[in-house]
């Protein structure tokens, strides 16, 4: 029974392995077509260099060829990846396609490859070996899925900038994904060679690359079973057509393409989206988390060293940022000490976001110097600043939209959790312990912002206010020393803003240093220990909330335009009046309009 389908089954396995080499990078949001080139190099190198099966036996010969092929594939990926890893989207696709074409042309013109007529290879691969190899590859990606490494790749796919801010070294992760793709493509190349008996450079041309990509996408590039489903689909469609008796000729590829179109239209997530994906929340994790609450970093997490209260966290001196002659920020001197809650206010366009972008390492300053938690700003990459203990939210939510709320926060815990992927491959209990610890941390953070019951929801499905709170939970998960919040209350209603205010106060009580931008001046005055006012890129006032509210320069620059606003701010100057004023009394946002807010402007304000 199985014998009759051996060929078809073998090709399903081979196609799936090749599709996995695309899946390996698609999962990190990279579009590469270079896998055909890796496969070609590996197939020829493996077949040419490995000893003949008649000398050493079938399986040893195949294993040696596989080892050679995977090494060649991985090596080629490193060589190609180093100069191209900064390319994105279609640019990476074109660059890698160029590589694949170059490989094909070079192999065609080499003597040892047999040129266009190809290189003969003994058939060694059996259907069992092919599926064993496929099983190992699938196992690799299955175990990767819920590991720290796998989540980091998904985070990069969803939002690269946010991933950087969570402390993920995007360059290294992308290269790692690319090298994995190279090794898997190499495996495919060698197995293919040892099955079809003759390999020619044309077997790894543009069409082959596109076919691999299509297989991965049709199967689904966000779920580890996707490539197998995609390859099954692609391989079985011609079989069905033959079985049903569709006449050979153009009509078959036409029908196959039509079917492909239908699948892509109705299942944009690929065939794998037919499989329900569940977000597991191990029983008891939430209870564990509550029991741990307030004890600082949980068991099994890398502890962090926080600066003692009063130690400098941020020191800026003469910091400036210029965009083509426009001074967004000018000569800012500022020192933030551990334990402070600093509010940064100022009219729109005052340079607040530019300033925090510089502090969190996203934007290099044009002048001046800055030290944040011991790291010099300007030369230090974002993920290092994050590793030093800076965590932030964004003015416009930058969540990992297709991940669940819990997974978002788990990515936030990247810096305090340990790498688990390799240990997960071996099912080591310590990996499970570490994953549970990260999970507890995530649940605790979700609980703290009041989102514990929404843990399984996709981030994009959350309400606007919940999204903002989720971003805070994600930022908290890294157990930061300095938390930067960029307009956290924007779009929140009274009640939500009040709750946020409480949250910030309670975080400050735990000793966390907080810097936050907010237009809701009432909330700032209520929550902060110190307020810094920016206007036209310069600090115009800095001091205790009471002083600021009474500062005529501030009222002039920031509030003076509107008499009502000025009146409210004035009332905030007296201790009694501060409580009386509603938290959103002075704001340039109408709280009642929170529900009808325009979707946030997603165009980045600063080139980063």
């Amino acid at each position: 029974m199985l014998d009759e389908y051996a060929t078809t089954l073998t090709f399903i396995a081979l196609g799936a392995i090749f599709a996995y080499s695309f899946y390996a990078v698609l999962i990190a949001g990279q579009l590469s077509l270079g896998q055909a080139g890796f496969a070609a190099l590996s197939a020829f190198a493996g077949a040419y260099l490995a000893p003949s099966p008649t000398d050493v036996g079938d399986v040893p010969a195949l294993l040696i060829a596989v080892a050679i092929g995977m090494s060649v594939g991985a090596l080629a990926a490193v060589v190609l990846g180093l100069p191209t890893m900064h390319l994105r989207g279609v640019f990476l696709a074109i660059a890698t396609l160029g590589f694949a074409e170059a490989v094909r042309v070079v192999l065609t013109n080499q003597e040892w490859t047999g040129g266009a007529q190809g290189l003969g290879v003994p058939r060694v691969l059996t259907v069992g070996m092919a599926w064993l190899a496929l099983g190992l590859v699938a196992y690799w990606f299955w175990r990767m899925g819920r590991s720290r490494y796998g989540r980091a790749l998904e985070a990069i796919r969803e939002d690269e900038l946010a991933a950087r801010a969570m402390g993920i070294d995007v360059g290294r992760h992308r290269l790692a994904a690319f090298v994995t793709a190279g090794a898997v493509a190499g495996l495919y190349g060698v197995l293919y060679a040892y099955y079809v008996r003759l390999i020619a450079p044309d077997d790894f041309d543009f069409v082959a690359a596109v076919e691999g990509l299509v297989t991965a996408v049709v199967g689904g590039s966000t779920m580890f079973l996707g490539p197998i489903l995609g390859s099954g689909f692609q391989t079985i469609v011609p079989e069905i057509q033959r079985a049903v008796g569709v006449e050979a000729g153009w009509i078959r590829p036409f029908l196959a393409s039509l079917l492909l179109l239908v699948v892509i239209l109705f299942l944009p997530g690929g065939l794998a989206s037919l499989i329900r994906r569940r977000t597991r929340l191990p029983a008891g994790a939430a209870d564990d988390a509550r029991a741990d609450a307030g004890e600082g970093p949980g068991r099994g997490l890398a502890g962090r060293h926080h600066p003692a209260a009063g130690e400098p966290v941020v020191s800026l001196s003469g910091l400036g940022k210029e965009y083509g002659g426009v001074h967004a920020v000018r000569g800012v001197d500022l020192e933030i000490r551990a334990g402070e809650v600093v509010g940064l206010i100022g009219p729109n366009g005052a340079g607040k976001t530019t300033l925090v972008n510089m502090i969190s390492g996203l934007v290099p300053p044009s002048s001046g110097t800055a030290t944040v938690l011991g790291s010099t700003i300007g030369r230090t990459p974002v993920h290092r600043i994050a590793a030093a203990g800076v965590s932030r939210t964004f003015q416009h939510s930058k969540l990992f939209n297709r991940l669940s709320a819990l997974e978002n926060v788990l990515v936030g815990a990247h810096l305090v959790s340990r790498p688990t992927f390799l240990r997960r491959l071996l099912w080591l209990p310590s990996a499970r312990r570490d994953e549970r610890a990260a999970l507890r941390q995530a649940v605790r953070c979700l609980d703290r912002v009041g989102l514990a019951d929404r843990a399984a929801a996709r981030a994009e499905a959350l309400s606007y206010g919940d999204q903002r709170r989720l971003e805070i939970a994600r930022a908290l998960a890294s157990d930061p020393s300095l938390l930067i919040l960029d307009e956290p209350a924007a779009g929140m209603n009274h009640v939500e803003a009040a709750r946020l205010s409480e949250l910030i106060t309670s975080l400050a009580r735990d000793g966390l240093t907080i810097l936050f931008i907010e237009h809701n001046v009432g909330m700032v005055l209520q929550t902060c220990t110190r307020v810094v006012v920016l206007n036209f890129g310069e600090v115009i006032a800095s001091g205790a909330p009471g002083e600021i509210a009474a500062d005529p320069a501030v009222i002039e620059a920031y509030l003076g335009s509107d008499e009502d606003d000025a009146g409210s701010a004035g009332s905030g100057a007296t201790a009694a009046g501060r409580d009386a004023a509603p938290p959103d009394a002075v704001t340039n946002l109408t709280p009642g309009a929170a529900g009808t807010l325009d979707t946030p402007d997603t165009t980045p304000r600063n080139p980063t």
Binding site: V105, A116, Q117, G118, V196, A243, P253, F266, L274
Partner: protein, 391 residues
């Protein structure tokens, strides 16, 4: 929508399973019933069961233009054979999409379904990949267009009726050298195609054999269409002739552009040039092009005349060499089946090996001891818009 789709998918999978099981059982039936051996011999041979013949052709993909010609040739031959009494053929033509994976799968299926013989595949690369499956299973294969070296070396079940480039090209070069007194030539070939590359190797060996000097060798890609720069380069060495190994897609623009540039030395082409499209598309420019071929389209032997007439009547177009070889292929299979009056695999294999001096479209045809074709090749020259024998 989701449930609907998954239902459709499940139904499709079930249908596939049923259909595959069905065909599998069918295959066993034919081989078990033993209805493939009949009584009588030659024309009087009568076989009860239908003789299953599989054909693997490249009907879509890069080699589709050859596959389509072959399909026409086979179908024409099948229609003619159906009019004869005694033996009925069940010819199944399948498309390998110019994809080695499909060719391998199809060979596997034909072997499992009990085919008496497999015709094809279109390309030599696919033959080297797929023929071993039939060889291992003891199913005879008749290649109808494989010209690469080593195809019939796969085993004693692999035959072909297509002359190799190594058989045709030396005759072409010898005739052209004699005719034009060649002393030095420029060789041009597309080096990213298995067929044209092996053609180049044959040309190169034949030129050396004849003592003709190759002043320059120029390579291009099979997808190229602009040869002006290369032709100018060729012109500089002032050759006596330009020898080209290319597929018809490159041959037409190359010949046209050469004449445009004022190159009026003879152009000598390989098997790829042996296509009516050369005259149809290049027109005037094709005049004087010398083409070595396995099939003499202007031959006046009765089989060829009948073939030309029947083909024109059926398809309203002139056949090319691929159609002629395919047509001959199926006729040879009939010959072999009737010789022992048996369509058992081993019997066909034995009879194919003994084919000798059979009059065919290709001329007097024999299978040699290496299971390769043996028949007169022809050196043609384009004259007044059609191929004429170079004399």
């Amino acid at each position: 929508m989701r449930t609907k789709l998954s239902t459709v998918a499940a139904a499709g999978a079930a249908a596939l399973l049923l259909a595959s099981c069905g065909s599998g059982e069918g295959g066993e039936d034919t081989s078990a019933s033993g209805g493939l051996t009949g009584e009588g011999s030659g024309e009087s041979c009568t076989i009860e069961g239908e003789v299953p013949i599989g054909a693997v052709l490249s009907l879509t993909g890069a080699a589709a233009s050859y596959g389509e010609s072959q399909q026409r040739g086979l179908e024409l031959a099948a229609a003619e054979l159906a009019e004869n009494d005694g033996v009925t053929y069940d010819l199944t033509i399948e498309d390998d999409q110019t994809d080695p994976r499909q060719a391998i799968t199809l060979f596997d299926e034909f072997v499992n379904d009990g085919a008496s013989l497999i015709i094809g595949p279109t390309l030599s690369n696919a033959a080297i990949q797929a023929d071993p499956i039939a060889q291992d299973a003891g199913v005879p294969v008749l290649g109808i267009s494989n010209t690469a070296a080593g195809v019939t070396e796969i085993g004693d079940y692999i035959f072909r009726d297509s002359l190799t480039e190594q058989a045709v090209i030396p005759q072409t070069i010898a005739a052209a050298t004699e005719q034009f007194g060649l002393e030095d030539v420029v060789v041009m070939y597309s080096n990213d195609d298995a067929f044209t590359e092996s053609g180049y190797e044959a040309f190169s060996a034949a030129l050396e054999e004849e003592g003709v000097e190759v002043s320059e060798t120029i390579t291009f890609s099979k997808s190229d269409t602009d040869f002006r720069a290369l032709l100018t380069q060729a012109q500089e060495s002032d050759p006596d002739a330009i020898v080209v190994s290319a597929l018809i897609e490159a041959a037409v623009p190359l010949v046209t552009q050469a004449r445009e540039l004022g190159i009026d030395v003879p152009i000598i082409g390989g098997n790829g040039f042996n296509n009516p499209r050369l005259m149809a598309d290049a027109g005037e420019a094709a005049e004087g092009v010398v083409v070595g071929a396995a099939w003499n389209s202007s031959s006046d032997n009765p089989e060829n005349q009948a073939f030309l007439e029947a083909y024109e009547a059926e398809y309203d177009a002139a056949p090319d060499q691929f159609a002629a070889q395919a047509y001959t292929g199926l006729k040879l299979v009939d010959q072999a089946v009737r010789a022992n009056c048996s369509a058992e695999r081993d019997s066909i294999q034995q009879a194919l090996g003994e084919i000798e001096d059979v009059p065919t479209v290709l001329g007097e045809f024999s299978i040699d001891e290496n299971r390769d074709a043996e028949h007169p090749a022809v050196v043609q020259v384009v004259e007044n818009g059609s191929f004429a024998v170079l004399e």
